[in-house]
Symmetry: C2
Subunit: 343 residues, 2 copies
């Protein structure tokens, strides 16, 4: 029986409540919801229906929240927020959702957060089209910002998302991957988009360079931490909350931090784990159970928690140059929330 | 036996040779080819290999050619061409190719121009990823132009491509479509991207407004004409050159100009054709042969030729405000070439 724990450990502060942290941007997040389902490409009701279907499943909207908090925390005075910042938050969630829809086609996934994926619910073909539609909506938003630097940042994000997906595809069942490559993949797949949002918000505000650089650092480190926690939750999270079985990534050949820590240390445990992965026994229920118990017994999970905390500390450190405000406090609190999240 | 003709009729001028028309931008088109296969998203050789595989099939590169000719024809003095115009030409072809790759997944197409499609050759999954990669490459190019107006034009193009594909999907086997909807769909699917390239080139040149407006008009009308000729070639082109059987669009339920002309006129022929389409007999070899012979016997093809010529004349008319140059001559000649093209 695989042991499951609901969090990755007790942080210094008590577990953060996400709703409280998002309170200072509650109204703006509601406007974001309206924009997400607005048809920006033509005047047909059908496209709006498609968007409503895609977004009705909800989600934490962590990326738009980070855009809005970054915008408010770096505004002069803090808390001021223009319409362009709402559009930035919307386009960031649109790109995230588009990439999820296409990733689910590429990975033949049938469940995401316990709900049927678009490809499963309708068809692979419609999922391709819906992903493209979401990217198109994001492009229309991006063009409305009228800011070439922000266009450059998001152009690179689209490239990073593809690079991450291609790299992940090519590294399946590869036990020789090093930590540098693992962190790089996490940047491409996740942190690049987190950083784009927190970085672009102060650019749109015309904030001082040190704030712009700090918010990019914050987003990048928070994004890497988010991906590490995601990879950890794949081992420790509840099947009910994640909508997938424990070790699901590894059983598909995705070697992430918990396994990498054990493989890197060498010795008998590493050799045994390597054997289970490279011979693809991990794809069987017995193989994955054995792999997980080797990883647990050899501190793979506790070392991963430590790694996540290192990036969390870097994210928190970046915030110190900002003036004190409720928005900076929420950005700080989100780091804690991230370390204690369970899905 | 279905009659096939190699061209849609003899234009006033002798058939144009595309190579001669492209002579003034020959060197620039070679630079475009190098850019198309350049990895702009990361430093891995794998992505470059993928791009080489996608682009080695070649193609007429008509969209980049139009960008470059529009740029040279509206430059001061005519013929001057900056690096940004090359990037514009590249991103226009990247978006075109990306949309073809995804359309082939959506339509489950296995052949394009007689060659295996990406989804057929590799897999649907890789085709999704390659399409996204091409869009990402285009976004990186777009951001390098540092021009918010051009970003807006291309953002709208992405929306138009999706709107066109969705509309086409929903109008399958629909005989009640009117000509306005048919032309609108042609704008979304084809003319919008043609116009984006010819329109953005003089914007990047800082040309006078009347030249900018004229080149948008040229691209839009040429694009509509291109789509009408495409729809006609589906009936009249050689199977060998097109890589698909005659009437292939109609057999899949795509009602285009040749059928619309017959349906619009009413009477016995229209009723018979409507019946074959709505009962989906067109999907059978016998049904499609009967549909084609009704369309031929009731002037569906000759009226479509006339429609294409009307848009060709509008495109040519738009050019008259430009100063005389070899580049304007080529833009004019491309209208002729388009009317006489056979694939």
């Amino acid at each position: 029986m695989i042991t499951k724990q609901s969090s990755i450990g007790t942080p210094v502060a008590p577990p953060a409540d996400l709703n409280n942290l998002l309170e200072p941007i509650k109204e703006e997040l509601q406007i974001v919801e309206q924009w997400l389902v607005s048809n920006l490409v033509d005047d047909s009701p059908f496209i709006e229906e498609l968007l409503q279907q895609v977004f009705k499943a909800g989600g934490k909207r962590i990326r738009p929240a980070l855009c809005l908090l970054s915008a408010k925390a770096t505004a002069n005075p803090p808390g001021k927020l223009g319409r362009l910042q709402i559009i930035l938050a919307v386009l960031t969630e649109l790109i995230h959702t588009a990439s999820l829809v296409h990733d689910d086609v590429i990975d033949s996934a049938s469940l995401r957060r316990g709900q049927e994926t678009v490809n499963r619910r309708w068809s692979e073909k419609l999922a391709v089209l819906i992903g493209d539609l979401l990217f198109a909506q994001a492009s229309v938003c991006l063009s409305r910002l009228m800011n070439p630097v922000v266009v450059g940042i998001y152009g690179q994000v689209l490239g990073d998302l593809c690079a991450g997906e291609i790299r992940q595809m090519r590294q399946q069942f590869n036990t020789a991957m090093d930590f540098e490559a693992y962190i790089q993949k996490s940047v491409w797949k996740t942190a690049s988009l987190f950083a784009a949002g927190t970085h672009a918000a102060p650019i749109l505000n015309g904030s001082p360079d040190e704030h712009i650089i700090a918010m990019k650092e914050y987003g990048l480190n928070l994004g890497i931490c988010f991906q590490i926690v995601d990879d950890l939750l794949d081992y420790t999270g509840s099947t009910e909350k994640l909508g997938k079985a424990a070790g699901s990534d590894l059983s598909q050949g995705l070697v992430t931090a918990p396994a990498l820590f054990v493989l890197r240390r060498g010795g008998e445990a590493a050799r045994k784990l390597e054997d289970i992965i490279t011979t693809r026994q991990v794809a069987t229920p017995q193989g994955i159970a054995e792999a997980i118990s080797i990883i647990e017994a050899n501190d793979g999970l506790t070392e991963t928690v430590q790694l996540a905390r290192e990036y969390a500390a870097k994210a928190r450190q970046a915030l110190t140059v900002l003036p004190s405000s409720p928005y900076r406090e929420s950005l700080d609190g989100i780091v804690d929330w991230l370390l204690t999240r369970t899905n």
